[in-house]
């Protein structure tokens, strides 16, 4: 019995896939919320969630009478995004996503920046000498080290992550954006400085995907600090 089949079959059920997609932004959701997202009853959801946790695709965190579920790790998020890259062409005939275009400009993938903004940042950081290739991903250049510190990026926290900086394929842009501890810390900084703002989901959005937009100040700052035209 191939374990490839076992993992893929877990993702392959519509209800479970809906739950996993709902968790892609990195938020933890309760069992009840996930049941509603998938459009099934609580019992069915419970059994699905149990299977996903046992396979390591999800992690649970019990808190009071709620149980919060989140993706099992960055590898899981990466696998889902890679599969979405395969899935997209098939749907592109009809509107590719209920809230399609809005997602492409900026959103959170796991805990790091994705969409056009994320890809543009990746191009800048790797092309302008902030980062240089390293085994398994990217390392800071001396220049990047200085610039990140100056900006207030917590490099120590970034280095404490399992991976410092690596590529994560962006399902809407089909080009990599920055993942790993550095991706997370940069994104945290951009949100802290209000250069990016979260867009609250509309009431008709079943999934709580976290879209992001540039503030006017952020637009100026990103141009000045990173040379982003966006």
């Amino acid at each position: 019995m191939s374990s490839l089949a076992a993992i893929a079959a877990l993702i392959g059920d519509p209800s479970r896939a809906a739950m996993l997609q709902a968790l892609l932004p990195g938020e933890a959701l309760t069992a009840g919320e996930l049941a509603r997202v998938a459009g099934i009853g609580a019992p069915a959801a419970s059994s699905h969630l149990k299977a996903l946790v046992e396979a390591g695709l999800l992690r649970v965190h019990a808190q009071g009478r709620h149980r919060y579920f989140a993706l099992g790790g960055e590898e899981v998020a990466a696998a889902l995004e890679t599969l979405l890259c395969l899935a997209r062409p098939a749907v592109s005939v009809r509107p590719p996503w209920p809230h399609g275009e809005a997602f492409r400009t900026g959103r959170l993938c796991w805990h790091h920046l994705a969409g056009r903004l994320g890809v543009a940042l990746h191009v800048r950081l790797t092309g302008d000498g902030w980062l240089e290739p390293a085994p398994g991903g990217w390392a800071t250049t001396p220049r990047g080290e200085a610039r990140f510190t100056e900006l207030g990026v917590d490099l120590a926290a970034a280095r404490a992550a399992p991976r410092f900086a690596c590529d994560c394929m962006d399902w809407s842009e089909r080009r990599p954006h920055l993942s790993g501890g550095l991706g997370r810390e940069i994104t945290a900084l951009l949100l802290r400085r209000r250069w990016l703002n979260r867009i609250e989901p509309r009431s008709d959005e079943a999934l709580r995907r976290r879209r992001l937009e540039c503030t006017p100040e952020g637009r100026r700052a990103l141009a000045a600090e990173f040379g982003l035209a966006a």
Copy 2:
């Protein structure tokens, strides 16, 4: 209906997963061979293959009374390898692969070099100034351009590929190896020069995975040309 679920469900059936894994090395196999690999009859295999082709996971090439099936593209190979990365930890308790260790040193992924050799080469090329980051992957530096040409790598053929050079996650090493046209051309050169040799599958191997090994001459040459210690 989530298209993520549809794609994953296709990979999630044990018979189809076995076929896809058999095609991972990049070889094209006939419908009958794939039926044997999956351990099912010809009618069942035919219906599976039809579904996989319709979804774009496979391509067909009819030739005489045979129909040759191959993976639909590098994205498909990448998705399968990413999923295998997720699947591996679960199996690592028991022998992770029927022919585990032998696969780790060198093998073909799609048409490019994977395993320890592939990862080591990736580290060298990206770390020693042969390649530099470029949007969506890697580009040759002037020095790399000269060295590749000198070695006899067909850069024109590599540039004709949909992607010139990009990362492909290695499921056994969990670090990227070189994919895209350049990865294919380099691998072709290494085989042509007999620096790498294919190891013929043993008769008890159901899957025709293409393992690779260094020849003694190849070991010297790789050390001299690329600085590989392997």
